[in-house]
Subunit: 224 residues, 2 copies
DNA sequence: CTTCTGCTTAACAATTTGATAATATTATAA
DNA sequence: TTATAATATTATCAAATTGTTAAGCAGAAG
């Protein structure tokens, strides 16, 4: 499973850092680490991670302070933040969540559970736009220009690929014909109306199933 | 803080139901309860809650089955689902999260923590501006160009969708025929008077219930 | 140079939609 | 109650929209 989301971990215990880093990397996440609160803020600003895992008790700035500070910055209003700490007292947990964190995990936490939680958070955020799109048994690899369906490779021409890629990037969303033209063909080129249809048809043909729905008078949407 | 959200709790222990219900109501949430899996599904369909708390071990259908089944239904793809259970074994937790749940809490959980978690989930949900209009068990999704009623998809043509969309955007408000013409047809096009009626009729027919009220000599309004 | 592939388009078929006319029904005021 | 205006219903048809096929063209590959 390849993700491609960036995760920042801040913890002062090297062992913990290492274990988590290993497990997340195995899942395909890109991992950055920080040894204390200040380093966490600094790296967060530089790397713009998609998710930040914060230990609460750290030398210097503690996790809650870090979270508070990051949430002040517009760029981090949306970022997922999770506390992971040995402090299991209720007051701290409530305080942590009220700071605007998305989850609070207490050590020790098993790698499997940690990963499930993280996957679950990303799933809701729908942030799987980097690299590989996976919907059901359809896989789209943007870098390799490859599409796999039920384990079998499917060869799509460039425009077909771009089009499917666009539609599948937000399953369920209806893309207006105009949107499609702008995204796939660009604003310069002008192509006839039937062009989109023909490409849609080819994709439908090659995939063998009808996962692209026509919304008449509006556009197309991808749905499994 | 965003309150007024509807929460469905499913648990077979009356005591737990009561405690949670009390605490959530104190926070301003509207609470519905169910004593087993089947009842949970039934009430979910009828009430369209914003968040569902599921016990895993329940007579009849267990929580994971309920979650699975709900996630199959289009209307519940986005709904927040949280497991709350005494089963703290890792495998179950991972399985639960992979079913598409948003969180997994183990009993006993303190009311404060529970509430923090729930607030936290809602906080994140509201950040992602989903163009979803929700009135009772009717959902209108502008992005998907789709309408869901009691869990079932309803297919509306473009004008029908726009019209319903307009009326439902302000439930209770009476839209003058002129207003409707301007909003849905634009100022350019001129259509006969009966045209609106015909579309209203089609919507009424497709929805199966009469949630659009005629105000004679004035216009129409949407009401559940 | 030839062959192949991908992209676009034209032309036509198939489908869906939306508007209207004609008629029935309902609400309201006199 | 009745007359009247407003809305509901139904069927029908034209227009809008999309699906399909085949053909032409340009550029890449052989």
């Amino acid at each position: 499973m390849t993700k491609g989301n960036k995760i920042l971990i801040a913890d002062d215990e090297p062992d913990i850092l290492e274990i988590i880093e290993f497990n997340l990397q195995a899942q395909g996440y890109e991992v950055i680490t920080a040894k204390n609160g200040d380093e966490a803020i600094e790296k967060a600003k530089k790397e713009s991670p998609d998710l930040i895992i914060l230990d609460i008790m750290m030398p210097g700035k503690n996790g809650i302070e870090v979270c508070n500070q990051l949430r002040m910055i517009p760029a981090f209003k949306q970022t997922l933040i999770v506390f992971l700490t040995a402090l299991s007292d209720e007051a701290t947990e409530v305080k942590g969540l009220e700071t605007g964190a998305d989850d609070y995990l207490t050590k020790p936490v098993s790698p499997k559970v940690l990963i499930s939680k993280i996957n679950s958070l990303f799933r809701r955020l729908n942030k799987e736009e980097t690299g590989i799109i996976k919907i059901g048994d359809l896989q789209i690899n943007r870098e390799k220009y490859g599409v796999t369906f039920r384990g079998a490779d499917i060869v799509l021409a460039r425009k077909e690929f771009e089009l499917l890629s666009l539609l599948a990037s937000k399953p369920g969303k209806v893309f207006l014909r105009n949107e499609i033209l702008n995204q796939v063909w660009g604003t310069e080129v002008i192509v006839g109306d039937r062009t989109i249809d023909v490409h849609i048809r080819k994709i439908r043909q090659k995939l063998g199933i009808d996962c692209i729905t026509t919304v008449k008078g509006v556009g197309y949407k991808f749905e499994m």
